[in-house]
Amino acid sequence: MSALTAHLDVPLHHGAPGAARRAVVAVLGGWGFRDPDWLDAAAVVVSELVTNAVRHGGGCIALQVEAHDRRVVVSVADGSSVVPRRRDPDDVGGRGIALIEALAENWTVHNHEGGKQVRVMLLPCPGLEESSGSARGGAA
């Protein structure tokens, strides 16, 4: 089993980013991704994606996590077809996408059921064996 997925509906409210990142950290920990700094970065990325979906997205939010060997992709879909754009930061915002770009490998936007899905590929998790099937199948 080298591909693992998790999917999670997230109701729109201001506690959604916290709930989503706690769930994702638990999921990734269970999949064998245990580096604390890497998990912190994953939590920030999830928090940014869900915060943006709550603030700008509208509609239902669906979160997805996929692990293919050492690579993890987190995606958040929302009901708005507006594509996020990095904007000039000011005192009241504009740093979410910058933070994602600083902590992750890349991000892309895809059409998704009338809205869009923002997908972020995380950096490789340190400390995983190359053949992560065995690393992730190991003891906790």
Binding site: R21, D40, A41, A43, V44, V54, D91, R95, L99
Partner: protein, 104 residues
């Protein structure tokens, strides 16, 4: 989010504990606004935000810190964030505001 306030001559120190994100940004912002309006006399006014007790901070949290700094400037209050570590420090550094927020 737990906020512990301690006052000294001319200064207020707010220690933030917990997670600073969309859920807690308003509350933290209100504490900061109240602190800025109620700094005791006795010295050049200063607001210190101690974030050593924060375990999480994303861009919504950074916005709160920057809002605090802007509010302090508007009131001619010195402002400084202290104690940032772990992911809180990384989020501040990654958004390019670490030096801005941590030097008076």
């Amino acid at each position: 989010m737990r906020v512990v306030r301690s006052d000294g001559p001319g200064m207020v120190r707010l220690a933030l504990h917990g997670e600073l994100d969309l859920a807690t940004a308003d509350l933290a912002g209100r504490h900061i606004a109240v602190a800025l309006d109620t700094i005791p006399a006795g010295g050049p006014p200063l607001l210190v935000l101690d974030v050593a007790g924060l375990t999480f901070c994303d861009s919504a949290g950074i916005d709160v810190l920057l809002g605090g700094r802007a509010g302090a400037q508007a009131r001619e209050v010195d402002f400084r964030v202290v104690g940032a570590r772990g992911i809180v420090r990384r989020s501040m550094a990654a958004t390019g505001v670490l030096t801005l927020l941590t030097t008076a």
